[in-house]
Symmetry: C2
Subunit: 482 residues, 2 copies
Amino acid sequence: MTETLTETSPQTVDAIVLAAAGAFRPWAATPAADRARILSAGADALDAAHDELVQLAVAESHLTEGRLSGELARTTFQLRLLGEEMLRGDAYDARIDTADPHWPMGVPRPDLRRVKVPVGPVLVFAGSNFPFAFSVAGGDTASALAAGCPVVVKAHPGHPELSRRTAAILADALTAAGAPTGTLGLIEGQDAGVRALRHPRIAAAAFTGSISGGRFLFDVASQREVPIPFYGELGSTNPVFVTPEAAAEDPDLAQGFLDSLTAGVGQFCTKPGLLVLPRGSKLLGRLSEARLPGPAPMLNPRIRDGFGARLRELSSHADVQTLAGADDPTDSQLDAAPTLLRAGVRDVLTCPDLQEECFGPAALVVEYDDPKDMVALAETLAGQLTATVWGTPESDVADLVAVLTERAGRLLWNQWPTGVSVTHAQQHGGPYPATTAPGTTSVGTAAIERFLRPVAFQNFPQHLLPEALRDENPLGLHQRRD
Amino acid sequence: MTETLTETSPQTVDAIVLAAAGAFRPWAATPAADRARILSAGADALDAAHDELVQLAVAESHLTEGRLSGELARTTFQLRLLGEEMLRGDAYDARIDTADPHWPMGVPRPDLRRVKVPVGPVLVFAGSNFPFAFSVAGGDTASALAAGCPVVVKAHPGHPELSRRTAAILADALTAAGAPTGTLGLIEGQDAGVRALRHPRIAAAAFTGSISGGRFLFDVASQREVPIPFYGELGSTNPVFVTPEAAAEDPDLAQGFLDSLTAGVGQFCTKPGLLVLPRGSKLLGRLSEARLPGPAPMLNPRIRDGFGARLRELSSHADVQTLAGADDPTDSQLDAAPTLLRAGVRDVLTCPDLQEECFGPAALVVEYDDPKDMVALAETLAGQLTATVWGTPESDVADLVAVLTERAGRLLWNQWPTGVSVTHAQQHGGPYPATTAPGTTSVGTAAIERFLRPVAFQNFPQHLLPEALRDENPLGLHQRRD
């Protein structure tokens, strides 16, 4: 299938943003139970179109049918889960401080009640590597809709037809179930995305993609006359630290690592790109002898080009050798072969650019002589989505874990970072450049918080308060009192 | 007293930031109960120095002793309250999702546990108008310290000696009680502040002050190689809407408004700067006949200059008349006389710059013919810290309240916006330009959240987990499970 790039005209961009702005009040005022039902109807419609959507996704993304089918299931699960999360009520963060003449501040405390409300229309920049889960109907869209915010999606050019069909099916299902017209809109093209990002009616934006693209858009959002929050999930190397004990004991480590590295042809934002292990360990031997999977197609020629260029850059370092695979052996426009490079920990400490992300099925294996070098290396890391430690109960890793806690949003013990579970306790976001807003997550129910802001009501009569703050508590929320 | 402006040298700025960075790990690792005890010791030391500090504040700020004494009490209350808030545990937002092989996402859910951790050293730009509560030992400092973040304060030049003494007393008390050296540092001068804001070891910044100053610093923070969150509380007009019923019925409204307007010589960020009332109402008559307080000294000549300039700008509008007081009648370097201007609601709708803040004891009284004009005016408002409605049980204000909820961080009913109570449900922050990060508050216990970020731990053994996430729950926190 040939990509059909189109660019939404400025007039149409404005009309779609204004339609979202028009949908804001009715959608925000729709009770959470109705919003959950409507999101669930949207999920049902996408599930019903499973075969059509997955075939479109295979054709446009070159990912496997099995992977894409699972990703669609994850995506519709996410729409339902996030809708239900508002019903659970914690996201409202309802707080009630009743009037207190003896408040120890020294002056009487008025009746103050605080609740989170939706921020306004949200612009979502879709990612390429998850055509469902981080695209039109993905986590950013689901969390904004659940929060009560209409969404304008800027489609990713890597899967234009899939984007259009997903948007049409979801938007139709939402309005058929009762959402106001304009609750979900789609625009296409880079200029259209920037125009929408600068539109005064857009209240927040979310993004999944590269550091350069994300930083460009973050700057646009920050330099507006009225700056808006920009929730960008950019890039990550996702280092894995293997203790001497784990390297010696666990025979499955090599295969587990290769499976995680090559899942989705290495195009996961949580792909382990740096494997830190003891010099001369059995694990190193197993990796050098491992049978790597054959070449597989990447998402599109641009991403394939970027992979080849970054791989050649890494390979050209004087201190970097090829451990397995080859440094960009194929001349295909799409196919990429898994590749392992190797370097010493000193080389990486002195050349921090060796730590930068290589998007695709390649990793740098870093050998250390002294386990303390793992801590030294961790101290030099940029912000990461994930950091992983493999150890045994005997491993002395407290210092390493402490440093990694400062550097990453999610820490794993004896598991692999790919495959991000959508749960209440998930955290997908870390210090910059992993994320532009490190206090937030783009996966899991806490992702909703990005699209809410608090409002306090002082001395208000019950009938004018939001339901979440009334004494009778008609929504049955957890209200934090006094 | 003559202001003694000094500029901390670049070398000293770097040394103070590095001292804060050095204090980060031990301070973050200090148990919350100990941090609360240490903050309380700091509060005690400031209370013990009450007379000295208040006299310094009177001399440098020209505010009254009574006001400053109350403000110091509020400040030390705040240090204690925020320390205790971490003990209550909600700020950790601890979430535990145990492993679930049947998680409906379609793949097994791993054991995932999420908790908030301190972000790193915080830079606080002190405000001028609250020499205690928004300065060296104020809410930003208290919330960052409570979160586990060392603080570097950039002193406000309006009260340099008070800043130095407050910092010395607080820093000494904190270290004497067990805080690591470097937990609180002080720098002086604009260049020093910008240098610290650009320092790679600063993880977040907070600010209270003008729109122009705050926006400049927001841009510096956003344009760093590694951008950091900038929590700026900038400016606000704090509109007050009076329904026809309230204007007719309440004889105390005029005096209440004037008291709020002139409190602190109009130098509160929540000063009501726009009073919207029915044309020809008794309230208007009472205001035009009211005896305004006499001239009083503002904080410093620069602020007095700005007040005069803005007042002349407003008065020069063709549609603006003087209702009471005079348009900048004094030629004092410091004293300012309370002034009420008047305009019609159509004038304000067509000239949005009439809504912009005038920092000082002046307000614009806006007359409407139709109560619906209040909603129309509310629709045009920029982001506000507060918005107030005066009404009776009969008043039809649902639409007005709905619009104001989109525009402001705190809504008040039949009370005045000045005097911001420090509580759990307080919200001091609204859409830009009221705040650069509208999802946050700079007053109340929720202010701590600005200086925390979430980290998830996947499949971790109990002994390597933070205490907040262990099954045995040694901190006794609320843990949200599954």
